[in-house]
Amino acid sequence: MKNRQFKKQDIYWFLFIILLVLVPLIPQVAGNTFIQHVLVLVLLYASMSQAWNIIGGYCGQVSFGHSVFFGIGAYGAGMAVVKFGMTPWPGVIFGAMIAMIVALLISYPCFKLKGHYFAIATFAIVEIFNRLFMVWYWVEGALGLDYPLVDEGWKNFMWYETKIPYYYGALILFVIIFGLVRYIEHNRFGFYLQAVREDQETAESTGINSTLIKMLAMGLSAFLAALCGAFFAQYSLRVDPPMVMCLSISMTFVLVTILGGTGTFLGPLLGAMILIPLQEYTRVLWGGLGSGIDLILFGILIVLIMVRQPKGIMGIMNEIIKFQKNRKNKIISESWEKD
């Protein structure tokens, strides 16, 4: 990471990314809502996975419980609209704050656990929240919250006829989260996250309060995850526990990041760009009613990645770069030998 080149390189990256996402939009203005849907989901999952990446990738604390924060955010927005008849925005903020507080409360004891014990604790927490929300009367339990018809627009953050404003909303979320992570990556907090991941004892001996770092990362990650959840609620127009607060959603965030490359800036985006179209297209083509082929493919992809290149797409790209370098060096040295 080169700090001094931070500003120049990043302008390129952001221009590139914005270009990348604006271009597909042009033919879609004509109205293929399915592609718009896929694009919205790609941006949403990329954002969500990047939020997870902060604590799971950069800081190395692999949590399978992020669906709790996602769900709290979703319920925040949902309750505001359904129960209180307001715009979702107060619910979004409130949900994010609650998610952050919950994160800090449960992570503090959990960080005393090591390795698989920690991972299992995070499963346990998701399952507990899932069950509790299923029976919690105030949030309509298993029935869930169904959105009423309201005026379209940014005030209510809901549209019915078209997905394009959702797309721009997702883009804004994406830019916020990715921008934040990019900033962190080049500053002390980002370095400290990685130090804690690499070797906690060494980090401590260099003056890093690892517990504090982990808590901050968890809190931030939870806050951002809740924002994504709120967006999801506004997009789906419905919130219930199996949709937003379950283990499979948690696993998806983890898998997207791992597929792209944990602890890397582009990993979550790359992972989402591959996985979400795969998920959505196979579901449409073969998923049907429970034929499961889409998930079989998903499963095969995961196994292949974990066996072949656990560092994900970024890992594969680095391998290719190294291979090219070695080939170049070989060619150069061979040409010297000839002389």
Partner: protein
């Protein structure tokens, strides 16, 4: 009072099955530090094998457990050789996530081939029979399954503790390199242990279809409960897994009856969190 006893016994019997499933997982975790996410799906496979043998060829679970066990043994070894072996050289969680992928594959193949329908064997030797002790009703299939599961756990424990093979396994679990220096073929041990995990779950799966419905999702919850049992008991410890599994069976049963059925698993997972707060490495972990 009788209700309490009834619920307790039901819980213990369930716990014994959990114990068998958890023992296999505990071995795998203890020896190679891998959390087998597909463990529940292996159980599902064992159950389907037993079901189809019963349904198509009228073979009773009391016999078909042998086939289930053997089939899952092979699946375990294949899983190790084809997948886990390659993941061990990578980052720690890659094996776990690979097994997650495998679980997805297995579950959805079952879904695709066998449909999501719940299936149960209706004409088994033990099916529907009960033993009545005063006010207590003990369903025979559950009773035999539970007791048999307990015996298998005990046998496995004896193998680990008393045989040369078991010592080789323990040595590999404690220090792989040192074991190799002593001439132990650790690769073979790893594969065998994974297969052994498969046997545990295959035998459990073999007995269940006489009273528990088979369907593609049946493995998922068993997986989670097995994880919790193993972690609560302490990884690598079979007595720990047994004790924890029994506690979980009880918690599930008592919690479900006295609080509310939907809270069954809140109690179970909550129990895990409580135990692990006081003993971060489980009850008997090292």
């Amino acid at each position: 009072m009788t209700m309490f006893l009834q619920v307790t016994i039901d819980g213990l019997l369930t716990g014994m099955i959990y114990a068998l499933v958890a023992s296999g997982l505990s071995l795998i975790w203890g020896v190679m530090d891998v959390l087998n996410f597909a463990h529940g799906e292996f159980l599902m496979i064992g159950m389907y094998v037993s079901y189809w043998l019963g349904f198509l060829m009228d073979i009773d679970p009391l016999i078909s457990w042998i086939a289930s066990g053997a089939f899952c043994f092979i699946i375990g070894i294949l899983t190790y050789k084809l997948i886990i072996h390659h993941c061990l050289s990578g980052p720690p969680l890659s094996a776990l996530l690979a097994t997650f992928g495998l679980a997805m594959i297995l579950k959805n193949i079952a879904l695709n081939r066998f449909s999501p329908n719940f299936r149960i064997l209706t004409h088994t030797i033990l099916g529907g029979k009960k033993i009545i002790l005063g006010d207590l009703v003990l369903a025979l299939p559950q009773l035999i399954a539970g007791v048999f599961a307990l015996i298998v756990v005990f046998i496995i424990y004896l193998i680990i503790k008393r045989t040369r093979l078991g010592w080789a396994i323990q040595a590999t679990a404690m220090d792989k390199e040192a074991a190799e220096l002593m001439g132990i073929k650790t690769e073979w041990i790893f594969a065998f242990v994974f297969g052994l995990g498969g046997i545990c779950v295959g035998i459990a799966g073999g007995l269940l279809p006489s009273y528990l419905a088979v369907h593609p999702e049946v493995g998922s919850l068993f997986s989670l409960i097995a994880f919790v049992a193993v972690a609560m008991g302490g990884f690598g410890s079979i007595p720990g897994a047994l004790l924890a599994a029994l506690c979980i069976g009880l918690a599930e049963s008592l919690g479900g009856f006295y609080i509310a059925p939907v809270f069954k698993y809140v109690v179970v997972f909550g129990l895990y969190l409580v135990v692990v707060m006081f003993r971060p490495k489980g009850l008997f972990g090292w």
